[in-house]
C-alpha cells in the first residue's frame, strides 16, 4: 500500500497538467504571501511612490523650491499646480524636493533605533544577571526621558542640525521601547526547548542568538521598525514645524513652518498647508498599513482572514472566535464537479 502511494506522488509532476499545478502551488505561495495582502499592498504602493519621489525629486520638480517670483500667494493654477507661497515660491516643488528629507530621516532614524533596540534588548534578555540589570536600567532611563524636549534641546545645541543629525538624535533617543519588548520576548524564547537543545549540543552563544532566537523575533523587529519610522517622520516634521532645524532645508515640516509663520490659515491659503499635511498623513497611513500586513502575515489566525478579506466581504462572512460563520449558499456553486460525484 505504501509503495502505491509513493508511486502516485512520483507520477504526479510528470502526469496530467492539473495535478502538476496542484503540486507546484504550495511552493509558490510563501514568496507572494505578503503581496497578496491588500492592506500591505496599498501601504507598499504609497511608500514606493514616495520613495521614487525622494530619489528623482530635485530633477522632476517644475521649479527650484527656493526660487522667488512675482506670483505671490497664488492659488493652484496651470503654472503652479499647488499654488505659491508669500514670496512666490512653488509649493508643489517644495513638497517634491522635501520628500527626500522626510524619508531619509525616517529610515535612518528607524534603522538606528531598531539596531540599538535589538542589540540592547536581545543582549539583556539573553545574558541575564548583572548585564540584564544594567541594560534594563538604561532602557528604563531612556523610556522616562521626555523624548521631544530632549530632541529639541540636543538639536538646538548642535551647530548645524541637518537632516542626518536629527535622524541620529531621534534614533539614539527612540530605541528604548523596542528594546524592552524584545527583551521580554527573548526571555521567553531562551527558555524554550529548542534553544536549550541548541545549547546542549554545544552551539556558540552568538550562533544561538543569530540562528535560533533572532528569526523568531523577526515580526516584532519589523513591526517595531515600521513604528519607529512613523515616529521619526512625525518628530522630524514637528522639529521643522517649530523651527528647530534649519528652515532652508526643505521637508514637509518646513512648508508647514512657513505656512504657520505667514498666517496661511487666516489668509485662507489652504493650498499652502493642506498638501503637506496630506503627504504626512499618507506616509503615516502607508507605514501603518504595512504594519497591519506584517501582523496578518505572522499571525496564522489573522493570515487566512487577511488574505481573503475581499472574498469574505463578498460572501458575507464575519470570522470570529467562538461563533463559527455558517454559509450555506455557495457550497455547491463554488465547487464545479462536486455534483458529479
Amino acid at each position: 500500500m505504501a509503495t502505491s502511494t509513493t508511486a502516485i506522488e512520483v507520477a504526479a509532476p510528470t502526469g496530467a497538467d492539473d495535478v502538476g499545478q496542484g503540486v507546484a502551488r504550495p511552493g509558490r505561495r510563501p514568496r507572494l504571501l505578503f503581496l497578496r495582502n491588500s492592506k500591505a499592498l496599498v501601504g507598499i504602493a504609497i511608500l514606493v511612490f514616495f520613495g521614487i519621489l525622494a530619489v528623482v525629486g530635485p530633477w522632476v520638480a517644475p521649479y527650484d523650491p527656493n526660487q522667488v517670483s512675482t506670483a505671490l500667494l497664488q492659488p493652484p493654477s496651470g503654472a503652479h499646480w499647488l499654488g505659491t507661497d508669500h514670496t512666490g515660491r512653488d509649493i508643489l516643488s517644495q513638497i517634491i524636493v522635501g520628500t527626500r528629507g522626510v524619508l531619509v530621516v525616517g529610515l535612518v532614524a528607524g534603522l538606528g533605533a531598531t539596531v540599538l533596540g535589538v542589540i540592547v534588548g536581545v543582549t539583556a534578555g539573553f545574558v541575564g544577571g548583572l548585564g540584564d540589570e544594567g541594560l534594563s536600567a538604561l532602557s528604563n532611563v531612556f523610556l522616562v526621558i521626555p523624548q521631544l524636549p530632549l530632541i529639541i534641546i540636543i538639536a538646538a545645541q548642535l551647530p548645524s542640525a541637518g537632516g542626518i543629525t536629527v535622524a541620529l538624535v531621534i534614533g539614539v533617543t527612540g530605541w528604548a521601547w523596542g528594546a524592552r519588548v524584545l527583551r521580554a520576548q527573548t526571555l521567553s524564547l531562551r527558555k524554550r526547548d529548542f534553544v536549550e537543545a541548541a545549547r546542549a549540543t554545544g552551539e556558540r552563544t552568538w550562533r544561538i542568538v543569530l540562528a535560533e532566537v533572532l528569526p523568531n523575533l523577526t515580526a516584532i523587529i519589523a513591526a517595531g521598525f515600521v513604528g519607529t519610522v512613523t515616529f521619526a517622520v512625525l518628530s522630524q516634521v514637528t522639529l521643522a514645524f517649530i523651527g528647530i532645524t534649519p528652515v532652508s532645508e526643505w521637508n514637509w515640516g518646513t512648508i508647514l513652518f512657513w505656512a504657520q509663520n505667514n498666517l496661511a490659515l487666516q489668509r485662507g491659503a489652504w493650498w499652502w498647508f493642506v498638501p503637506a499635511g496630506l503627504c504626512i498623513a499618507l506616509l503615516g497611513m502607508a507605514l501603518t498599513l504595512i504594519n497591519f500586513g506584517i501582523d496578518e502575515l505572522v499571525n496564522p489566525r489573522l493570515r487566512s482572514t487577511g488574505m481573503h478579506a475581499r472574498t469574505l466581504r463578498r460572501r458575507g462572512i464575519r470570522p470570529r472566535v467562538g461563533f463559527t460563520p455558517v454559509v450555506r449558499d455557495q457550497w455547491r456553486a463554488a465547487r464545479p464537479g462536486e455534483e458529479e460525484r
Binding site: R320, G322, R328
Partner: protein
C-alpha cells in the same frame, strides 16, 4: 430507543476562506440519544474534534460551516438548529444545553484564579440572580460530585494533580446540568490508571444525572468499554456506526477492522497486531471513490470510482456502514460479481463474522 438530544444532519465544514478550501467534514450524520454515550473514534486529522467544535459553532477561523443542520434539544425538549441561532441564543444555549470538556483540559484552567472562582464563573454568567453563598454551595457540591473534597475550592490549579484538574474541568462542564456533554479526548494527558478513574466517574455521573455524552478519542479499546454506540470516522466522514459490542465483535468496515486490529485485546486469545498500512489521505486531493480505497485490503474497482453511502448493510442489521462490500443494491446488481471478495460467501472472513 429514547428521543434524540443532539442530531447532526449532513454537516459540511471547510477550512480556509479562499478559493480552494479544504473540505474537512463532508456530510456527517450523527444522532445522540438521551442518556447515551456515543464514542467517536478515528485517526488523528480525521475530523473528530472538528465535528465537535462545528456542532457547537466553536470552530475558530478559518473554519467555516458550509451546510447541514445541528438540532439540539433543551431541557424542555424544544429543539433548535444551532446553526441558525443568534449570538445571544447561542451564548445562552452553551453550557446550559451543551457543554464541552476540551482537549488538554488540564491547561484550560487559569493559573491565577482559585478553583472555586473558576467553577462559579459560568454559573454567574448564566444565572445572574444567584447570591454568593448559593454559588459557593453549588461549587462545593460540584467538586464533591467529581470526588474532590470541598475544601479544595480555595486551591489554585497548580496545587492540584493532573487527574484532579481534569475532574475540575468535568465538574465545571456539568455546572449547569447540560443535556449534552462533548468530551474531546478528556483523558489523553492522563496515565492509564487516572484515565480509568476519570471515565468511571463520568459514567457514574451519567447514570445519576442522565446527560448524554459524545466521547471523542483515538483509543478504541477505551471506547469499547465505556460507550453505548461507536461511530468510526475516516477522512471527514463517518464510515461505520453501531453499538459498541457490534463494532468490537463484528466490524463491518475494513477501516474499523484495521483500527481494532491495531491494539491488543484485553481478554481472549493472543493475536497478531495488524495495523493499517499507508497514511491518511490528503483532504485537498480526494478522488471520486471511497477515501479509504487506497489503503483498503479489499478494495474493488467500484471503490475507486463510486463513493459508498452510509447505510444499513445488506445483512439487514440495525447499524450503518459506508462500504461497497456491504452495499445491498450493489450486490443485487452484480457489480462485484467474480471479484473474489464479494462472490461466494461474499465477505472477507474478518468482516463476515
Amino acid at each position: 430507543m429514547s428521543e434524540p438530544v443532539l442530531e447532526i444532519r449532513d454537516l459540511h465544514v471547510d477550512y480556509g476562506f479562499g478559493d480552494d478550501p479544504t473540505h474537512v467534514l463532508r456530510g456527517v450524520d450523527l444522532t445522540l440519544h438521551r442518556g447515551e454515550v456515543l464514542g467517536l473514534a478515528g485517526e488523528s486529522g480525521c475530523g473528530k474534534s472538528t465535528l465537535a467544535y462545528a456542532a457547537t459553532r466553536l470552530l475558530p477561523p478559518p473554519g467555516l460551516i458550509t451546510g447541514g443542520e445541528v438540532w439540539l434539544a433543551d431541557r424542555q425538549g424544544r429543539r433548535s438548529d444551532v446553526l441558525g441561532l443568534t449570538d445571544a441564543q447561542l451564548r445562552a444555549a452553551r453550557w446550559r444545553d451543551v457543554a464541552i470538556v476540551f482537549q488538554g483540559a488540564m491547561s484550560s484552567l487559569n493559573p491565577v484564579f482559585r478553583i472555586g472562582r473558576q467553577l462559579t464563573d459560568g454559573i454567574r454568567a448564566h444565572r445572574p440572580g444567584l447570591s454568593a453563598g448559593d454559588l459557593e454551595a453549588r461549587a462545593a457540591e460540584l467538586l464533591e460530585m467529581v470526588g474532590i473534597s470541598a475544601d479544595r475550592l480555595r486551591a489554585y490549579p497548580h496545587q492540584l494533580s493532573g487527574g484532579m484538574r481534569q475532574r475540575v474541568m468535568i465538574a465545571m462542564a456539568l455546572a449547569l446540568e447540560p443535556q449534552v456533554l462533548l468530551m474531546d479526548e478528556p483523558t489523553t494527558a492522563l496515565d492509564v490508571v487516572m484515565q480509568r478513574q476519570v471515565l468511571e466517574q463520568i459514567m457514574e455521573l451519567r447514570d445519576r444525572l442522565g446527560f448524554s455524552v459524545v466521547l471523542i478519542t483515538h483509543d478504541v479499546s477505551l471506547l469499547v468499554e465505556v460507550a453505548d454506540r461507536i461511530a468510526i470516522m475516516y477522512a471527514g466522514e463517518i464510515v461505520e456506526e453501531a453499538t459498541a459490542s457490534e463494532v468490537y465483535r463484528r466490524p463491518r468496515h475494513p477501516y474499523s477492522a484495521g483500527l481494532l486490529g491495531s491494539f491488543p485485546p484485553l481478554h481472549g486469545p493472543r493475536r497478531e497486531l495488524s495495523g493499517i498500512p499507508g497514511a491518511p489521505p490528503d483532504l485537498q486531493r480526494l478522488g471520486p471513490g471511497c477515501p479509504f480505497a487506497p489503503r483498503c485490503p479489499h478494495a474493488m474497482d467500484v471503490c475507486r470510482d463510486v463513493r459508498p453511502v452510509l447505510g444499513p448493510p445488506r445483512t439487514g442489521e440495525d447499524r450503518r456502514v459506508a462500504c461497497h462490500l456491504h452495499d445491498a443494491d450493489l450486490v443485487a446488481a452484480g457489480v462485484g460479481e467474480g471479484s473474489g471478495a464479494i462472490s461466494g460467501v461474499g465477505l472477507p472472513p474478518e468482516l463476515a463474522r
